[in-house]
Amino acid sequence: MKAVCWNGKHDVQVMRVPDPSIINPRDAIIKITTTAICGSDLHLYDGYIPTMEKGDILGHEFMGEVVEVGSSVKNLKKGDRVVVPFTIACGKCFFCKRDLWSACDNSNSNAATAEVLYGFSGSGLFGYSHMMGGYAGGQAEYVRVPFADVGPLPIPDELSDEQVLFLSDIFPTGYMAAENCNIQPGDTVAVWGCGPVGQFAIKSAFLLGAERVVAIDDVPGRLRVAAEESHAETLNFNDQDIYEKLTEMTGGMGPDSCIDAVGLEAHGTTIDAIYDRAKTALYLATDRSHALRQAIHVCRKGGTVSVPGVYGGFLDKFPFGAAFSKGLTFKMGQTNVHKYLRPLLKIIQDGKIDPSFVITHRLSLNEAASGYSTFKQEKDDCIKIVMKPELN
């Protein structure tokens, strides 16, 4: 089959590799119909996530058709159309039973490595480094899906791939980010980053009752989509001081909740952002956290900072004093995708959100390398790239 392989920093290549096969009884093999490049794939592309190996198959947002099931998979059959959560979860452990699917105890095949770095290991992830299990991803023609009896969500025929694909990650991720804000009537939610997760966080915040949502980015096309698709108010951080503007907009209080949908590769124009770039370039820190610092600084007293953006290692100059003195609540983590699959499918079926609005580029699998480069450079107003193996 064809698969998009990571060969090093800024080097992805489509390769012909062996087809996957059933390894464990709870596995299924899915023939991919649509897959996507995630913003977090760019962290891999940029070499920020350790324990990637040359030849790893990328991709954790995908859907397709079941072509084979293991002996323990009774709820799926050949021909079923399914969306697959990017988090791999056993469904049986302490954490899965408590809806903390991304903390599954039994799905990371390489948990010891994650334990060294983080104390404990989260769930296995598709195509997201060996520390997270080293599972081959879904930017390919076929993929092996472990624990297929609890993960994949069957999709009704009347919904198109593009309407449901993002149930695999970014829609639940944006939704969980908004849900974590515990939004109350009258609340203002500020969202840093208008990439795909930011766009879904904005839509979800309105859905959950936010009075106002302020979208912050410096890519005009992304701000435009936030304004046009979700009626968010928008701020370009190159044009204005975000703290001044947000406090002014909220009568001096600051936003009730702040969502960092940027993560470890934040860029900005202030002095701390430049300092971060210098330090990460010198490997003195691993993560840049400009957006997160700004969110903490401007969040109102007693407010919530919600972090769907991915962080991998250590932060420098983390303003913990501000967080403490204001009594902030922090909510974060990989998305518990399984928890949100059915409720969000219902939202799509009810016509409340059509997730396909974020798609700006449709490519074949063969064009993956140019897709990564376009997404990375935010060229061509790129927000979301989907790839269809059938276009090859």
Binding site: V14, V17, P25, G55, A111, R144, F147, L363, S370
Partner: protein, 252 residues
């Protein structure tokens, strides 16, 4: 890894006839802290165990290397006890163990991997047992590696299943030098046992061991790059796009 506080007396003090029954003496012994030192060995890597010729005949008490670790498993103590007590299950999760054959209720023969095709073997006996709570065993005379171990199943607080606590003692063939050598080889015994217990948890909770062994990748021998095609990054519908791609597709 610490040196065990065990002494000859403390081991002997717990010595119970291998044909013994689950009587008051067992229960009494089980409460003694030293009883949780015992035998397993299987997993401890034991690459160096193949060097069995340097074993001293004087080493009959396992006390040089001491390992303790625990894991929470979402099953009842009784379920865990039953699974563990059926010794033929042990190689399912102990990566370095090839087989355990029970010859009677108390005695068993253990075969573990050594270096290359070498095997490490020993006979062991269960010297203490409390149903649903404790199994303790130790190697008998002429073991390739003198070892002793115990596993204790302790009911955890609500919703947390059972704490499985494993204690192992063994004498590396070349004394502490052997353990050091093993560490240099990457076979850190405590970590190996932790990994074994993780596999046990996965088998009992999830029904299978998480693995990527045998999966596809660009590292496969037969993997080959597909030459890049005409780069078209466009917006639009898949149908329009298909036409634009036809040049690239033909080139492939």
């Amino acid at each position: 890894m610490n040196e065990t506080p065990l002494t000859q007396e403390s081991i002997d003090g717990q010595n119970i006839e291998s044909s013994g029954k689950n009587d008051g003496l067992f229960a009494k012994a089980a409460k003694h802290p030293f009883v949780t030192t015992g035998a397993i060995l299987a997993s401890a890597g034991f690459a160096y165990a193949a060097v069995k010729t340097i074993q001293s005949a004087a080493d009959t008490i396992a006390r040089e290397v001491h390992i303790e670790t625990s894991i929470a498993i979402d099953k009842s103590p009784a379920e865990l006890y039953r699974f563990w007590r059926d010794f033929k299950n042990l190689p399912l999760f102990m990566s370095n163990l090839e087989s355990v054959t029970e010859s009677d209720r108390w005695k068993s023969h253990w075969v573990a991997k050594g270096i290359g095709a070498a095997r490490v073997e020993w006979d062991a006996e269960i010297y203490n047992e409390i149903e649903n709570e404790l199994i303790a065993w130790r190697s008998l005379e002429n073991a390739d590696v003198v070892n002793a171990g115990s596993v204790r199943f302790q009911k955890a607080p609500a919703g947390r299943g059972t704490y499985v606590r494993v204690t192992m003692n063994y004498n590396p063939p070349a004394g502490k030098l052997g353990a050091t050598l093993a560490q240099l080889l990457g076979a850190e015994p405590t970590q190996l046992i932790k990994e074994d217990l993780r596999r046990l948890k996965q088998i009992l909770e999830a029904g299978e061991v998480a693995t990527i062994a045998g999966q596809s990748s660009g590292r496969a021998e037969e993997a080959e790059p597909i030459l890049p095609e005409v780069k078209v990054a466009t917006m639009g519908h898949p149908e329009e796009h298909k036409e634009q791609l036809s040049v690239g597709a033909a080139a492939n």
